[in-house]
Amino acid sequence: MRYLATMLLAIYNINATINANRVIFYLKRLPLLGKRIPDRLYSDSELKMIATVIVTILNVLRKFIGKTIYIGLMMVLPLMLLFKEIQRPEYPAAFLQLFFFLSLIAGTVQISALLEANRNKYICIKLMRFNARDFVVPTLFARHATNFIYFLPSVMLTYALLGGKILHGLLLLILMTAFRLSFEAVQLLIYDKTRILINKRFLIQWLVIIPCLAAAYLPLFYHSVWPVGRILFSLPMILLLAAGAAVGIAYILKYHEYKRTIEATLKLDDIMVDFSKMKGEAIFSSVKMKEEDFSEESLRSGKFEKKQGYEYLNALFFERHRKLLEKPILNRLAIIGTVLAVGIIISLFFPEAAGQLEHNLPSILPSFVFVMYFISLGDRICKAMFYNCDISLLRYSFYRRKDVILRSFIVRLRKVVVLNLIIGIAICVALYIFVEVADISFRWMDLMLFTVSILCLSVFFSVHHLFLYYVYQPYTTELGVKNPFFKIINSVVYLACFACLQLRNVPGYFTLVVIGATVTYIIIGLTLVYRLAPRNFRVK
């Protein structure tokens, strides 16, 4: 126990110092106030102590509030607002169902305190040479213990207010923690045997999360609530989870290959070598290029030998990043195909469901605005452009010239628009096929307008990403201080798309509004790029 406490204290101290430094760093960047904060602060240990305490308190508060908001948004609000048919006496059971699937199952697969790579771990183990086991085992217990505490007030209170037994709320959290601990051991076991990191495999994650979401919310749509509590709070289940946790903890404590294992997980993000780039880690590894990916012949082929200058550069850029561009496109086409197939099957078995679309094509457009938001490409391409190309070439003055910036903008825009149009066209084609097979009658005019607005949206999102990239240049080499304008514009666009999803009665002119809005945005975006990009497009 002493050992645990000392280790945790040491780790906390390092962590707190880094955090305090970071806070000072951000404070100094504030307009007006920032200039008055002296550099001295970094070395003033008393002031720093105060900053550390404040940061710690704020962090703890943030965690409590975060959990409360999560419970409120994901569980209480849907219960109160969406599923009005669920009656008060069923509230506790419904809450248990939601919490069970969302937090106990889906939440658990996303956490691996032992194996996830993060900044602190990197600093302590790789740079400060902590013993790996001494670091990860205490942090594992601290992580799950604090998580338990952070959840405690919101879960117990909510459960009690909804009419459940307050002690059952406590039991629920204990069981969740037990399950999480045993799952940590399972992940460690899997990683040890197969080198597969479950919390890095998005496919596995989604294969769990989507069924969990469905299992949590779908029954409520049909006014039924599953007897989660009866099973979860039964003695055999409690014993089972307790045994699982005991075995898990024993395995974790007994495991002796931490050094090798943890080093392997930290290597996954080699880019963290550079302190200043640490923040970019997550972004970066998703766009990183590997030399092995390219055969010698392909590098030697001289495929674009005839192209000149910037054309040549851009052609090579897209060629080398083909994997990054093609894979998401194919994924998306596969998704569209699957949805189409499912839609056709549904329409065959439940013709009346498909019949709702009869003469009512515009009513589905709002949902498609939201779909387009998620399905369009751009964000990742821009990051690849930045980290693999622009970040280095912008050091050269020739690359910063106005005409060069604008020309490569156009080339890139064209490319991204084409990619997004492929998706847009696929969606339209899928819709035609569906409408044909399901034998839905519609007005030709509606179909035309629908097509035009989907294509407009494709272009819109392409422009959107590149415009933000060129004008606000949100990615940085340093601590990743993002441009506030970037965040605001991005949020506004997201909210607009999300609001579309909420539209119940779609007005007839909605299609025209979409077309008008996207075209306007495209024009404004392009004008701003021409005006501002030559000045703003820099490595910051």
């Binding site: 100094k28 002296p38 550099d39 290029m289 030399e291 390219f294 010698e296 590098l299 030697r300 030998e305 000149q308 200058g309 910037y310 040549y312 550069l313 090579l316 850029f317 080398r320 990043h321 693999n388 190309c389 970040i391 280095s392 070439l393 050091r395 050269y396 003055s397 020739f398 910063r400 010239r401």
Partner: protein
């Protein structure tokens, strides 16, 4: 031949601070074409910062950099602000687009300079010049060693031949043979350029450079030319570096 033209790079009162830390405190100096200047300074003296200010990578807080053109007899006949295009800059840590192969990068670089200068060689001839082996030319720059990347950067200014060449500690990463070649090459091209060369190796400075400039306490000072090959030279430089007092050194601004 007509009258000889001579370029000069005049720095006036260049200032730059990071937060409260004043790195350049009004550095001024006049560099002349045809000479290689060795820039000496302790770690953190601001050599890289000075280069970055000149190249436009950093905004200066004050002062200006002018590129003067003199014709013999006529005096100064053109005064221009120093533009980033007139500078070839070799960074300490080479920064190159890593998704290209060395060959592709050079071809690209030659392409974009075609209209501006006469390109004398083919891509492969430039590689030969730098002693980059044929099998390395078609590998991604990502896998290049530090020295190889530096060679590519060197090639950039050899190709584009800008009036001003800034070299931030480049030769340290070269192997013996290439370092010798590079010294030879710099001596060959120096008559057409203003070359400023930062280094920590005193011997390299005395050996290659025509003038030594010391950056200390945020200002530039020249080491007396006479001193350059004298016995006391080393002591002198160390003295200047350690306290920044200008004992016996003539100040660049008064030249």
């Amino acid at each position: 031949m007509g009258k000889e033209k001579l370029m000069k790079l005049e720095l006036k009162d260049i200032k730059k601070s990071f937060g409260e830390k004043q790195v350049l405190k009004g550095a001024g100096f006049t560099f002349e074409q045809g000479k290689i200047y060795g820039l000496l300074g302790r770690n953190g003296a601001g050599k890289t910062t000075l280069f970055n200010c000149l190249s436009g990578d950093l905004e200066t807080d004050g002062g200006e950099a002018l590129l003067l053109e003199e014709t013999e007899g006529d005096g100064i006949n053109a005064v221009n602000r120093l533009m980033p295009e007139s500078i070839g800059y070799v960074f300490t840590t080479p920064i190159l687009p890593e998704f290209l192969t060395g060959y592709e990068f050079l071809k690209f670089f030659i392409d974009i300079n075609k209209g501006k200068t006469r390109i004398e060689k083919t891509v492969d001839e430039y590689f030969d010049l730098m002693k980059i082996e044929p099998e390395d030319r078609h590998r991604l720059i990502k896998g290049y060693s530090h020295g190889m990347k530096n060679k590519l950067q060197m090639l950039c200014f050899i190709i584009s031949r800008p009036p001003v060449i800034l070299l931030d500690e480049p030769l340290t990463s070269f192997d013996v043979i290439v370092a010798l070649e590079m010294k030879k090459l710099l001596r060959e091209i120096k008559k057409d350029h203003i070359i400023i060369f930062s280094t920590h190796i005193l011997q390299l400075a005395t050996d290659l450079c025509d003038e030594i400039v010391v950056l200390s306490n945020g200002v530039l000072e020249q080491v007396d030319h006479e001193m350059l090959h004298s016995k006391e030279f080393e002591e002198k430089v160390i003295e200047m570096l350690s306290d920044g007092k200008s004992m016996g050194a003539e100040s660049g601004e008064q030249k």
